[in-house]
């Protein structure tokens, strides 16, 4: 019963299953921090990116936002993580912090584009009505446009969150023991990668599936309030 033996070595021996659970905990922790940071950065970057001055040209803040979105989306996440770890936060020992920052900044660029799509799908008349009442662009954005935009791009935001969850696995490059790294560590002791990797995959899948179901319910409820 080779399978049983493999299973034992992969999960039971020396209480190895705890490594996975701990790794999963770290994965989730980094994902949540990064997602929140990404949401915040993404919204700000999106609004700044769309901003135009009196003459219709970009403001300085708008240019900065554009460059941020452009560069982050144009370079691999792994490189951004390495730069954050080895260059920008070169004296930090806190892998969770560095990983959360790197992934948050990364996610923000993609969230910015998602929200831009959401905003552009809101009817232009909404902004016109807000402005003609005397509200500023920002006031109209915050009170009228963004709430509708978020509802519109909700599915895309969920996708981004799921991608983020799985992408945190590259943080093993700087030694962060997330779920993937935990599986790696176990298989490097047993020389049998199949069980640990499958086990990790199953755990990722369960988390993603749960998220999808929960978000799906939330989305349904949002849609219901739209029904005529």
């Amino acid at each position: 019963m080779d399978i049983a033996n493999q299973f034992f070595k992969a999960f039971i021996k020396d209480g190895r299953w705890q490594l996975y659970v701990k790794g999963l905990g770290i994965t989730i922790e980094v994902t949540i921090f990064a997602a929140l940071l990404g949401l915040l950065l993404g919204t700000i970057a999106c609004l700044l990116n769309m901003q135009r001055g009196r003459t219709g040209k970009r403001t300085i803040a708008s240019r900065i936002a554009f460059i941020y979105i452009d560069i982050i989306r144009g370079t691999p996440t792994l490189i951004q993580l390495m730069i954050m770890w080895n260059v920008i936060m070169v004296s930090s020992k806190n892998k969770i912090l560095v990983a959360s920052l790197a992934f948050g900044i990364n996610s923000g660029a993609y969230v910015a584009e998602i929200i831009r799509g959401g905003i552009q799908s809101v009817d232009a008349g909404q902004m016109e009505a807000g402005r003609s009442l005397g509200l500023s662009r920002i006031q109209t954005m915050m009170n009228v446009i963004l709430p509708q935009a978020f509802k519109n791009c909700f599915p895309s935001l969920l996708n981004e969150f799921i991608t983020l969850l799985k992408e945190t696995s590259i943080a093993s490059a700087v030694g962060l023991v997330d779920l993937t790294h935990a599986a790696d560590l176990v298989s490097s002791k047993t020389y049998q990668p199949m069980m640990p990797l499958l086990g990790a995959a199953v755990m990722y899948f369960i988390v993603v599936k749960t998220l999808s179901v929960v978000f799906g319910k939330v989305e349904k409820r949002l849609r219901e309030s739209d029904n005529r």
Binding site: G125, E128, A129, S132, L133, G134, Q139, N143, V144
Partner: protein, 262 residues
């Protein structure tokens, strides 16, 4: 007929009365790329007047209206609201827009807010009224148009006519000096046009200064102080409604009216 009003007519009439016109437009021009839509319009609108613009689609009447509150930015020329030059880059347009109300063809109620919040959002966020004051006034206005029971509903659950009446109320909540209407009934089913026109007529009777772009000729005849025909980017004819409809001078206007009037 209720004794409540949409605006306070005496208060409105007493508002700063100068010899100057409320709205002045000087050599207003607007190009969209190569398309010269407005080619030099000069006009004055005095307080209490109801100006109605008619004409075929694309003649520039909506563009003219939207230039008044800078929803379109004039290519050249001047727009004045009282003593304020509206299209001056140094002017804070947000302050100017508080003094003007705009009603859109497609209502543009805020879909994510209740009717009550639609109406109170601007005055509260701009610090003009407290939430309580704004709500109280909003309910009064809703009462006036017989929609008080819809205060907690969302726009999507209302008919077009109801939404447009609420849109008018939303603008009135800000106590504007002038109300601009951009084809307010063009997107409505015929049976709802009447209820909206009725509100507009009452508003007119209470003394509000109004600039209206519309195809509703009966309304124009009934309510307008002056009717304007814009063609090829300039005002071709302007007259009292009686003269305008009975004795049109401009050949294109005659042609237009012959097709439109039944």
């Amino acid at each position: 007929m209720s004794t409540e009003t949409l605006i306070n007519p005496t208060e409105y009439a007493a508002k700063k009365e100068t010899g100057k016109a409320l709205i002045r437009v000087k050599d207003l021009r607007k190009d969209f790329g190569e398309n010269h839509v407005l080619r030099g319009i000069d006009y004055e609108i005095h307080k209490g007047q109801k100006i109605v613009l008619v004409g075929p689609s694309g003649c520039g009447k909506s563009t003219f209206l939207r230039c008044l509150d800078m929803l379109e930015v004039p290519t050249s020329g001047e727009v004045w609201l009282g003593d304020t030059k509206v299209n001056d880059p140094k002017t804070d347009i947000n302050l100017v827009r508080r003094r003007m109300g705009m009603v859109f063809q497609h209502f543009n109620l805020f879909n994510n807010l209740t009717i009550l919040n639609n109406i109170t959002l601007a005055p509260v966020k701009l610090g003009l009224m407290s939430k309580e004051e704004a709500s109280e006034k909003a309910l009064q206005l809703l009462q006036r148009v017989n929609l008080a029971d819809k205060a907690d509903a969302y726009p999507h659950s209302l008919s077009g006519g109801q939404q447009q009446r609420i849109a008018i109320v939303r603008s009135l909540e800000m106590n504007p000096e002038v109300m601009l209407f951009d084809e307010p009934t063009s997107a409505l089913d015929p049976e709802m046009v009447g209820e909206v026109l009725q509100v507009m007529t009452e508003l007119a009777n209470e003394g509000m200064t109004m600039v209206v772009v519309t195809h509703e000729m009966a309304f124009a005849r009934q309510v307008a102080s002056k009717v304007i025909f814009i063609d090829e980017g300039v005002i071709k004819e302007e007259n009292t409604p009686e003269e305008f409809f009975a004795q049109p001078k401009n050949p294109r206007l005659q042609d237009f009216l012959s097709k439109v009037l039944q």
